[in-house]
């Protein structure tokens, strides 16, 4: 029996081809990656921040850039976050896992990393050897050292190979470690000219305060970019095409407009409703 996969996906599903109406946003993220800029990508949950960032990562990795993606919300502690940065570097920096491990191991030797390769030799995971049971300040110091190592690594790369770090749900990190953490990260990041940093967060108020209040360390330290709902015209065209492809008759655009109005143009909700229509 033939099984057609539902073209509408939401939640954990990610499909870089399903990025709709985000051409300008994609260009903005790509520019930050290639040009070593600091970008604060701000938008509520469900607006497609993570999909956009992962699509930009996939797109730029194909073009030779090293784009590391970590999520501060799903990494419960700094050791895991730092481990993911090191593992991502090893996976992307050189041809072949063994080579990558050896070379990344040199740049991050102060972390005493232990590398593990998955059974299929494709995925790399890293645990760090230094003690992180210390206070929050010490934990942030380790993260700051890691970022310094990334900058040194970026300096050693050819100009055609930019390096960028995306920290998704950055607001979770700030909420957990407080303003002192902001100051520590800012102090390191502002010295780096060779690494592009994208700090993304769904806490709109928290991210806005962090970057626009004079008293906060990240005040005016990068560009703020607010993710808006997807423009309706782009969504209408894409949805109509998908429904037609699924052999749904859509002579009028009213039902598609109704989907968008009920979901208030929020990509996650649009995808969920459209997905359920095909189930």
């Amino acid at each position: 029996m033939e099984y057609n996969q539902n073209p509408f996906r939401y939640g954990a599903d990610f499909d870089p081809d399903n990025i709709v109406g985000r051409k300008d946003e994609m260009a903005r993220v790509v520019h930050a990656i290639r040009d070593g800029q600091r970008l604060f990508l701000i938008g509520p949950r469900g607006f497609g921040k993570t999909s956009l960032l992962l699509a930009a990562q996939a797109n730029q990795s194909q073009k030779g850039a090293i784009v590391l993606y970590v999520n501060a919300e799903t990494s419960p502690d700094i050791a895991k976050l730092v481990g993911e940065i090191v593992a991502g570097t090893a996976a992307q920096i050189y041809e072949g896992a063994e080579d990558g491990i050896q070379k990344a191991g040199r740049f991050f030797s102060h972390l005493e990393p232990t590398f593990r390769l998955s059974a299929d030799q494709q995925a790399i995971s890293v645990s760090i050897g230094i003690d992180l049971l210390a206070d929050k300040y010490r934990q942030m110091e380790v993260l700051a050292d890691t970022l310094d190592s990334l900058n040194r690594l970026a300096q050693s790369l050819p100009e055609s190979q930019p390096l960028a770090l995306i920290i998704d749900e950055f607001s979770a990190l700030v909420a957990r470690f407080g303003v002192t953490a902001e100051a520590q990260i800012r102090a390191v990041v502002q010295r780096h000219r060779n690494v592009g940093y994208i700090f993304a967060g769904s806490g709109v108020g928290l991210m806005t305060d962090m970057t626009t209040k004079y008293s906060r360390p990240f005040y005016q330290s990068g560009d703020n970019f607010y993710l808006r709902p997807v423009p309706s015209a782009d969504f209408v065209m894409w949805l109509s095409m998908q429904f037609k492809y699924e052999r749904y008759a859509t002579e009028e655009s009213d039902p598609v407009h109704r989907i968008l109005s009920l979901a208030e143009d929020v990509p996650y909700n649009v995808q969920m409703l459209a997905h359920n229509l095909l189930e």
Binding site: G46, S202, L262, V266
Partner: protein
């Protein structure tokens, strides 16, 4: 198969019903004042009401309403949307917002004849 507005609305109702346990839990985690404040904001259709106006509409002290609003922003339930230079308060999850509106309608006993999900009123905040 034909895609119609009726079909979209039926599936929308089913979607919100299927999320009921999740929304119920989310709702129950809010304090009573946060619940009242959120309802007042959502019924305001996105017009930014001042805490004093909300306080008046739900008969509570303005300072308490201000704290409740702060908590709703902090929990990422509400956010300020500056669109076309006009500020709107939006619910981060429009389906959760619709579930609350429906719930309030059902509790008030309004609109039971048509549907508790209020087909004719999408309830979009903006």
């Amino acid at each position: 198969m034909k895609l119609t507005v009726d079909l979209v609305e039926t599936v929308f109702e089913q979607t919100i019903q299927s999320l009921e346990p999740f929304f119920g839990e989310r709702w129950n985690r809010l304090t009573s004042l946060q619940q009242k404040t959120l309802s007042a904001v959502l019924h305001g259709k996105g017009q930014r009401m001042r805490p004093s106006e909300i306080a008046y509409s739900i008969n509570s002290p303005a300072s308490s309403v201000r704290s409740a609003l702060c908590a709703l922003y902090k929990r990422n339930i509400l956010w300020d949307d500056w669109n076309l230079r006009e500020l709107r308060v939006r619910a981060e999850d429009p389906f959760f917002a619709q579930w609350i509106r429906t719930r309030d309608k059902c509790e008030d006993g309004i609109d039971h004849a048509t549907s508790c999900l209020g087909k004719k009123d999408s309830g979009a905040i903006t």
